[in-house]
Symmetry: C3
């Protein structure tokens, strides 16, 4: 099995060029100059937070915790959907209570790994972040999104109130907007997401990379704390 | 005495048309298709939250708690004043400490009934919401107002600092704006109310009904949770 | 020694004209018609919160606590820098751990004096408020700034994460913006400061005095609570 962690640890302090460290089907991971960028590439499932994707993200976040070269983590996605949330195929009645518990326990571990991460975690969003995908954005320390992005917690549509997404959303954002999202399932725009505190910055799609770069470079340029 | 509750309970699951359920002088209550709309109609007192009005609102919110047809409550008002707050005639020194306590106990009960209400409560505001009237808006889960609306906590003008309104305001909104309101008594505009988290949506007056309808329809269309 | 406090106490209820009460080198203090205005005038140090400046502010805030004439305090500054934060000359390794502790203990006392102050404290800002200077603004009950103002927590630049500024910032503002400030050290504009809840009002530079006057007059005109 391809061990991303070992390769990363082997990069050393002065690695100056991006190296592709993972070509697993679910994510693409690059680590260069202090920045670890985790890109969800499971477009066919709309980057759903399946058990496989959550374990993959968790492993990639938790790796390198002791690597002094690691200064910031970016979580981003390929395609027009940042993440559609849990994979509902894993939450059918047939899947059984045991699997439901497994899904939500792993989701909790994933979210807590961001809280406990010793370096800043930045969400880079260009598209729809829904349900647990929206939770993932809210859980990050910093979120930068394009004007095209949308955010929603439509769990209620399926009889599954977005209770766990509600937690970081309510901690981070203005309740008047967050409750509207949670109770109606209706999406908010990028500018509403900024106004209500769900994201840190909004920019034009063509500026997303540079805006994120400005942020991560500022973090990295600081004296090592 | 006209018993709104009994009539409402008699409507049954498939009631499809609005029926006027109450023509009491203080509120007008309609219940149709899952939506209970409570309209304050006491324009001559500027929809003040008198003991009578608070008891009326409390009764109308608490009714139907076990009615599965109830999916959302709207609190709104007739006329240019959503609500001017407590009826100061009931808070004169002559009224006595006993009555003051009664007023604030009933206000607490009213606000708590919104917190404990098992369905979302939406404030639909077109005009001034002042003091306890502003508190009522802040206490609702969702608030949708017109661009003409204003919000203030002018208790300080009368030597009665808006301490109880301050609680849901401070829980819901950005403190820099909320403290400015509480300490100066100066009103804020609808757009400031949106920016500071006091309301969920602002719209043109001609769109208020449709904006509220979009919200309540979204709530109702969801799978029963 | 020039005792500002005694002079102030002697002003009486009906003092109608501003009187300059202090011409100390670090601040200029005026007390008139219920308003005590403390202006930092140490432009050569960029109004740094040196031990001297912090003690001066603390003394000037704490004075008059029992003076019924005191209704509101304004903290403002001369020059293009509201305050650059701690005086880093006092935080060098050579200064020693003892002095570092003294600096942060005095800073805590200063911030707590604003929390405990029985009258509203208003920050009037026209320029840069950085690090502990930004903390001072966030700690005030109300903050009014010009469009030119900027706010930053650049401690990370110097290997000193702005941990104490982070406390009132995180209590007051939207976390998505505040964390971006704290982790990157990058400044935010006045309008971002308003949107994220760091300040109460933003105005054109030529309107700053009148905007602050509107606020303080509203506070003072209220019935004595």
């Amino acid at each position: 099995m391809f061990k991303t962690g070992e390769l990363i640890r082997g990069l050393g302090v002065n690695a100056k060029n991006f190296k592709k460290l993972s070509t697993l089907s679910l994510t693409d991971v690059q680590f260069c100059d202090g920045v670890k960028k985790i890109t969800m590439v499971d477009q066919k499932s709309r980057n759903s937070l399946s058990l496989g994707m959550m374990q993959n993200l968790l492993d990639n976040i938790n790796r390198d915790m002791d690597n002094k070269d690691l200064r910031v983590i970016i979580i981003t996605a390929q395609g027009p959907i940042f993440s559609a949330g849990h994979n509902l195929k894993e939450l059918t009645p047939e899947a059984g209570k045991g699997q439901h518990e497994k899904v939500f326990q792993l989701a909790t571990q994933l979210m807590c790994s961001i809280i406990e991460c010793p370096v800043p975690v930045v969400a880079q969003v260009d598209g729809l972040a829904a349900a647990a995908g929206c939770q993932l954005v809210a859980q990050c320390d910093i979120a930068i999104c394009t004007e095209n992005s949308k955010f929603s917690t439509p769990g209620s549509n399926f009889g599954i109130f977005c209770s766990t997404p509600g937690i970081p959303l309510a901690r981070k954002g203005l309740k008047a907007t967050i409750l509207h999202m949670l109770l109606t399932g209706l999406p908010i725009t990028a500018s509403e997401a900024k106004a209500s505190g769900l994201v840190s910055k909004v920019c034009a799609p063509e500026n997303l990379e540079s805006e994120v770069k400005t942020t991560t470079s500022a973090i990295i340029s600081r004296a090592d704390l």
